[in-house]
Symmetry: C2
Subunit: 262 residues, 2 copies
């Protein structure tokens, strides 16, 4: 298993936490532009550093501030304790030479430990990211939004498209640094993906998106701490007490794991 | 038809050009970091302003410079003559609330006239972009790279996935502001998409990627200037004489159109 997943496992074990905290600043809720967003998110990091196994800034929320947002994102990355990995949620996808530039942007310019990507461009495109063998690459498989079924559930050869994506992700996992993104809003689909693949899962969509946290964790968990990283963004960021909200998610996940283990 | 496509048509008619020039700086070829990239690309714009119907910076190539790259991209955008539209090739895709932020980034923070997106998240995701009715939204349909067939050619209900993507793009085209990206390396697939859809095409992949320019234009062209926007990036940027290279592409495209019209 790659250095990234070793680090993720160590961070999860040290805190007994499968929680990833999404750092997605909303200018309609946080004043002060990019500087305000950075202050706000660094405060969230400070309050949750004993509770989060990973931090996941979504690139979109920083890009909307323009160039200042990218500077803030780089500062945010530098503000996270070195023993907690940072996953840049950017969902990039393009032809090989362009993916090479995207990988440089995520892993070198920003210094992310892992990044999300889309598989639509196929194997040669994904390999530009997986070539960074010490970093993690999460391939978007089954998403958490209402439109997910429009294309992802298209069936061919008796299986939905999202399982073809999972199979493609397996093909580029030679270095053991590939995971899958499977949304918590569809626990049945998580179970389908888990039946087909032992890759580590990133599970977004709990909290504001209404995913079923308990069912999602039961479907994703394999017994290894990298198997099920559950992301909450708005449910922590905009809680009255973000620390208590993060602890609440962590404890709800651990309660499921206690039942599974017993 | 949307304001974006009206502007694109006017720019193409004024120059009798279907050429889009891709502005994708490569730090291995251009010295001076983000400032060097900006200087280099502004010089390309200056040399080709009578030959290009559109400019297409690919976000990846600017992101790899970090925050300075985003500042340079914003300056580049401001440096293009107001009668030539700027298409930000960013290929974004995420859940609705995140796509809302990506649309803000592309259309407000950068001020792009159009943007490329992926359809994997489905209809609700795409609508966050198409809601900017005066801007253009190109949905990635059939790509120009070797791995394109891995997922895009998966067949269900007797048709390949890329045609399902084209159908989804049609569904979100209520404001007439949607186009498709179909790579020049696959003229047969361009013809398939054109048989299924009259949406405007952006056709990348000529030049360095080895696409068949003439066959691609014949397959894409409908008689309307928005129907076939052919992109060349490396083939212009790194030519000994970029102006001559751009003129060469423009003239080759026009030669095909002359034959088709006769």
């Amino acid at each position: 298993m790659s250095e990234f997943f070793e680090r993720l496992r160590a961070a999860a074990r040290a805190r007994r936490s499968q929680l990833c905290v999404g750092l997605d600043p909303d200018p309609d809720r946080i004043s002060g532009g990019a500087a305000g967003a950075l202050r706000f998110c660094l405060d969230i990091v400070r309050r949750t550093t004993d509770l989060a196994a990973c931090y996941k800034p979504n690139s979109a929320f920083w890009e909307q501030y323009g160039p200042d947002g990218w500077s803030a994102l780089a500062e945010l990355r530098a503000g996270v304790a070195t023993d907690i990995p940072v996953l840049l949620d950017a969902k990039r996808a393009d032809v090989g030479s362009t993916m090479h530039a995207y990988a440089r942007a995520a892993f070198e310019a920003i210094g992310a430990d892992a990044c999300t990507v889309h598989a639509y461009h196929g194997e040669d495109s994904l390999r530009e990211f997986t070539a960074y063998t010490e970093r993690g690459v999460y391939v978007v498989c089954r998403t958490s939004n209402p439109g997910a079924a429009d294309l992802q559930h298209v069936v061919f050869d008796g299986r939905p498209l999202y399982l073809a994506v999972a199979a493609l992700a397996e093909r580029v996992n030679g270095a053991g640094n590939v995971g899958l993104v499977v949304g918590a809003t569809a626990p049945a689909e998580i179970a389908n993906v888990r039946a087909a693949s032992r890759l580590p899962f990133l599970v977004p969509g709990v909290g504001a998106q209404g995913g079923d946290l308990e069912a999602a964790v039961r479907a994703a968990w394999t017994g290894d701490e990298t198997s099920c990283l559950v992301n909450a963004s708005r449910g922590v960021l905009y809680a009255e007490d973000p620390e208590a909200a993060a602890r609440g998610y962590r404890d709800r996940i651990n309660a499921v794991l206690d039942v599974v283990a017993s």
